[in-house]
Symmetry: C2
Subunit: 132 residues, 2 copies
DNA sequence: TGTTAATCCGATCAAATTGGTCGTATAAAT
DNA sequence: ATTTATACGACCAATTTGATCGGATTAACA
């Protein structure tokens, strides 16, 4: 409960890795995968998600790889999580209203309170400050 | 990712239900289960966990059930979550150090930052203020 | 005192989510 | 052309969570 997924962890590792290099240096999936002992395919997927989300640039072909594209200080953690894992909410009833409890539920507004607090906490946290 | 479990939801529902009654009124598992359409056995387990954790009192026998024991304003959400779901951490490496990434991981301290922020947020939130 | 209705508890099964793999297509450097 | 790497979808495995079952224990009440 309330755990981050591996994909998020791998994404952060990769970003931090790239941040410690020259701004335009390219890091291949393989390089990162080996250095941190991460399954290559899964890391590849994660990097692709970040590329699609405009966080990194993909460079194809041999000598290819990824480099950071966005200003990491401008990306808050909610955006980051959602690019990688999709919509974020403590309970399904926030993005998917077929919650069977919905009719009788007496804690929708309480849960909303917790949810809002959590979101605003992550909104005030940028990827840049986490990985730097 | 970052979701609450059903058990936590059921626990909150039950507490809120009891809070709307006379202080010493007893609510049976069945009563709550039917009113909110919650699987009886699972709700029972959850109530048992709360009883063991000193949050509610169990009254056995026919006409038995549960009533609130603790001052809900004195229980913070971390304590609450941990009574019901056990140790809480964004990554396993916090309570269980056999994380295979541990040797090479470059984001332990970043993750720790997020984790600490989240914990302190939940520590400053009491069950009482959520369910009231 | 026997019956009944409730909690208690562990074991176990099912469903959902997450983690990881595979095969193939595509792009680019040499 | 060949090689090396990303791109991408389909797929399988492992873990976690959700739910169920069977039986033991407790206490109210006829
Ligand atoms: S139905 Fe979503 S919190 Fe109860
Ligand atoms: S090993 Fe725990 S955050 Fe990387």
């Amino acid at each position: 409960m309330l755990k981050l997924t591996r994909k998020v962890e791998y994404a952060l590792i990769a970003l931090r890795h790239m941040q410690n290099k020259e701004p335009d240096a390219i890091s291949s999936t393989k390089e990162i995968s080996e250095m941190y002992d991460i399954p290559l395919e899964l890391l590849a997927k994660t990097l692709q998600l970040m590329a699609r989300g405009g966080i990194v640039n993909a460079v194809q072909g041999p000598t290819g790889g990824y480099k950071i594209k966005a200003k990491l200080e401008n990306i808050n953690m909610i955006e980051f999580f959602e690019k990688i894992e999709g919509p974020l909410g403590l309970m399904d009833c926030y993005f998917d209203s077929d919650c069977t409890l919905i009719s009788a539920c007496n804690i929708r507004s309480p849960i909303k309170k917790i949810n809002d607090n959590m979101r605003s906490m992550f909104e005030n946290m940028t990827v840049g400050e986490i990985t730097q």
